[in-house]
């Protein structure tokens, strides 16, 4: 048990060390002081109230997309389509929010736009599920292709719905806006962190409860762990694929609210910046568990905001390198750390226990 804990804790530490070493080396090569880099990095993220706000703002869509990928993975499905799903979610939220009468109260406007955002993402996810169910098309291909379809559709639709000489839609009505967190916590003044984060936390908790407590979550996990056993137990596999991908798409679609309802109040072309693809890394790093996804989203939010903070000192790309180093070390260190521990006499037993378990009939 103790060894397991160490096994879980070591890879992130190891990744952080590698990332620090790589960052220091690159900064030195660039002719700047690593100490200054870290000072800026800290001050721009967790070292100031504004920094914290911005980290939370960046982490919010990552949380939604990460959950969208993770929920599908728990059902044994690879949802590569979070990018398309968050895009249509944002688009649907913006259009529905702008179409409401100007005086619509928040209690009516917010649920409506949230439902539209969820519904648009869910529809896109369900398409992939239906393709898998009825045509046997692998969801990796379908969701990835749908990303391109959405991209193209946005370009085509943009000409009709964007305001003249801009790449954004009309703003949503006041009732559909999500308030900034600085309204309640004045210290966060200036940061774009908004109530979409609270929605994200709710969805995160909802996903956790769904997985652990409900019949639907049980069916989803069963399908993800052993498809044949699920079939034998009476699970309708195709239907479950479809609703699992719809749920995943809907959750990712809600991620669009961060920008559209909480920040700019309109849909803008290219707002996502590839956050849907980052969601895959977030889900994997978070071991597909809602709490893990939350932590991973915060880490990637920190790195993303940190990149902006150190921009004056080193090129922004340095932080991209850091992100890559963190990802690579995390991916590589899990087995490496395990081997290291197994080389020690105390830890050797665990492996043998595994072997013993396999000692079958």
């Amino acid at each position: 048990m103790r060894t397991t804990l160490v096994l879980r804790a070591l890879p992130p530490l190891w990744a952080a060390l590698c990332a620090l070493a790589a960052a220091s080396a690159l900064t030195l090569l660039h002719g700047e002081s690593p100490r200054e880099l870290y000072r800026l990095l800290w001050a721009g993220t967790w070292g100031s109230a504004y920094g914290i706000g911005q980290v939370l703002f960046k982490a919010t869509p990552l949380l939604f997309c990460g959950l969208g990928v993770a929920m599908a993975l728990r059902a044994g499905l690879f949802n590569i389509g979070a990018e398309g799903q968050i895009t249509v979610g944002a688009f649907a939220a913006a259009l529905s929010g702008a179409a409401l009468p100007a005086a619509t109260p928040a209690w009516l406007a917010l649920p409506t736009v949230l439902l539209c955002a969820f519904g648009a993402g869910a529809a896109l996810g369900a398409v992939a599920g239906l393709f898998r169910w009825l045509a046997g098309a692998h969801e990796v291909i379908v969701t990835m292709m749908l990303n391109f379809v959405v991209r193209a559709a946005m370009v085509g639709l943009g000409g009709h719905v964007f305001l003249r000489e801009s790449v954004h839609t009309a703003p949503v009505v006041a009732g559909a806006e999500l308030p900034r967190l600085s309204r309640y916590l004045p210290a966060l003044h200036g940061s774009a962190a908004n109530a979409s984060l609270l929605l994200g936390l709710l969805v995160c908790a909802g996903c956790a409860l769904l997985l652990s407590r409900t019949r639907a979550g049980f069916v989803l996990r069963t399908l993800g762990s052993n498809e044949e056993a699920a079939r034998a137990a009476g699970v309708h596999v195709g239907r479950t694929w479809t609703w699992a991908l719809a749920l995943a798409g809907g959750v990712a679609g809600l991620g669009g609210t961060n920008f559209v309802l909480g920040y700019k109040h309109y849909y803008e072309d290219g707002f996502s910046g590839g956050v849907g693809y980052m969601g895959i890394a977030v889900a994997v790093l978070g071991h597909n568990r809602p709490l893990g996804v939350l932590l991973a989203a915060l880490l990637f939010g920190t790195l993303s905001q940190g990149g902006l903070a150190v921009h004056a000192l080193v090129p922004r790309e340095l932080i991209d390198v850091l992100t890559a180093v963190v990802l690579l070390t995390l991916a590589a260190s899990q087995p490496a750390v395990q081997r290291l521990l197994q080389a020690q006499p105390g830890a050797r037993r665990e492996k043998e226990q595994d072997e013993k378990d396999k000692e079958g009939p």
Partner: protein
């Protein structure tokens, strides 16, 4: 001249996994010309002992000797000393031919290139010499399980093994194949020129009696008996294995008078990959009856169960299940509806169809019975009643004597026998009308077999209809009220099997091989 030293010897050998002793103070020797059978329940430490002798597991005490010399065992040393381990699961490369698999790692060369012709000649000669007839040029992927097993044995013989160590070699073989295999093994050892010995792990006591010179019984990691095979009975060995007297499972005659038909299969035709696997099967199982399905594997048993469960599409014919309002056609119902109508399935491959190994025992008991433990108004947001599930789980673990009795432990941590008991417990606990039990005791130890047999008969006595598919003739004779023989997708014959005068094995064997009814 003194007697030759044992080929391999364990002296006071101990292996520990954490706080658990997998082997404790085990001493064992195999001499040339001797067949030693190693028996014990699942998890008694048999495989660990083999692995320790072969150097796959480090020792925590005691000594291993090859040819009388103490060594620190390692697979390299073991092979050099003439030990050949045949794993329970095949370690063959399917696309390569028999000869290529056999010579892999010791390829004969000519001018630095593989001498394929010589390899094939050598393998052919070796096969003929030992009565393991097989064409060296066939790809392993095309072989039957029994033939693949022969290749495994040829592999160790090719490396000059003198002590063959076999981990349940007959577990996957049909009765006829198993008999042939045992005969070959016996010959290998009795050949005085070879100086060979055999260490055999098995669950089947009749096999032990048939080939072994000596029986070594392990229980909870300790050696509890080492007896000459001639001097003991299967019952004695079974008692040593489980450490208590086993109550024989008795089938009481069915009450007189016709019972209602619980499962009726009519002219069922099933095709798979373009091949007709079931070719018009008609059978009926009555309430309170066990209908055994005998047959060599691959004659449609798997498809019969899958089609009745609703996992395979039916080409024509029908499946009917008893309901409160008489027989009801379920031919086109989905799996869930069939389960709800009172159908239960103990699948032959528990890892593939029966369990989710990463789930806890409790979650595995929930599988397929979600409806019974979930509450809520919205069907898709029903909440699992954990408290009730855990209580139900503890009760079942106790009733079926599943070890360890930890409802939260992952299913992966259980031994094979306990995993199987878990599946049977789940399927029988919902009081089904009809139970499909496919190979319910395959690869399971005597203690678990007894529990499973008793529970199946218990369900029968409570009025359930049991369709029992088994490759074990003993099992069929013991449990089935009637035995149907399935041959090439057709029912060949249905024989009555009353407890007082069971069907003759020879008769069954003849029908299974396609003989006239």
């Amino acid at each position: 001249m003194s007697a030759p030293p044992p080929l391999c010897e364990a002296v006071d050998l101990s292996v520990r996994y954490g706080s658990l002793w997998a082997n404790r103070g085990v001493s064992l020797a195999v001499r040339p010309g001797e067949v030693v059978a190693l028996v014990g329940e699942n998890g008694a430490g048999k495989s660990t002992l083999l692995h320790a002798l072969y150097g796959l597991v480090p020792l925590d005490g005691g000594q291993v000797r090859y040819h009388g010399q103490p060594v620190v065992p390692s697979p390299q040393r073991a092979i050099a000393a003439g030990l050949g381990l045949v794993h329970q699961h095949f370690m063959l490369v399917p696309p390569l031919t028999v000869a290529e698999n056999v010579i892999l790692g010791q390829e004969p060369r000519k001018h630095g290139l593989l001498d394929r012709r010589r390899a094939e000649e050598e393998v052919r000669a070796l096969a003929v010499r030992h009565g393991l007839a097989i064409d060296p040029r066939r790809p392993v992927a095309d072989l039957s399980v029994g033939e693949a097993q022969r290749v495994e044995i040829l592999k160790v013989l090719y490396r000059g093994a003198r002590l063959l160590i076999l981990d349940e070699p007959t577990a996957v073989l049909t009765p006829a194949e198993a008999e042939g295999m045992l005969r070959v093994l016996r010959q290998l050892v009795s050949d005085p020129a070879g100086g060979r010995g055999l260490l055999l792990v098995t669950h089947k006591l009749d096999e032990v009696m048939a080939v072994a010179d000596r029986v070594v019984v392990l229980r909870q990691g300790e050696l509890v008996a080492s007896l000459p095979a001639q001097a003991c009975s299967p019952a004695e060995i079974a008692r040593a294995m489980v450490g208590r007297e086993l109550q024989p499972v008795r089938r009481h005659p069915r009450p007189a008078g016709p019972a209602e038909v619980a499962l009726a299969v009519h002219e069922l035709v099933v095709e798979r990959d373009g091949v007709r696997r079931l070719d018009g099967v008609t059978l009926q199982v009555r309430a309170g009856e066990v209908l055994g399905i005998a047959g060599v594997e691959g004659n449609g048993q798997t498809e019969l169960c899958a089609a009745v469960m609703g996992l395979l599409p039916v080409r024509s014919g029908s499946v009917q299940l008893a309901s409160a309002a008489g027989l009801r056609d379920i031919t086109h119902l989905p799996v869930r509806a069939r389960r709800e109508a009172g159908l239960a399935w103990v699948p032959e491959d528990r890892h593939r169809h029966g369990l989710v190994l990463d789930f806890s025992l409790a979650d595995n008991l929930l599988l397929g019975h979600e409806g019974a433990f979930c509450t809520g108004w919205l069907p898709w947001l029903q909440v699992i009643d954990r408290r009730r599930l855990l209580r139900h789980g503890r009760q079942l673990l106790d009733e079926y004597d599943i070890q360890p009795p930890e409802v939260q432990a992952p299913a992966r941590a259980l031994s094979g026998g306990n995993q199987q008991k878990l599946v049977v417990a789940r399927e029988l606990s919902a009081q089904p009308r009809v139970i499909l039990a496919a190979q319910p005791t395959r690869g399971v130890d005597v203690g678990a077999i007894q529990t499973i047999h008793a529970q199946l008969l218990g369900a029968r006595d409570r009025g359930a209809a049991v369709l029992l598919v088994s490759a074990e003739l003993d099992e069929l004779q013991k449990l089935a009220d009637r035995i149907a023989v399935l041959y090439r997708g057709r029912i060949r014959a249905v024989l009555d099997n009353p407890p007082s005068c069971p069907v003759q094995r020879a008769r069954l064997g003849e029908l299974m091989a396609g003989g006239m009814a």
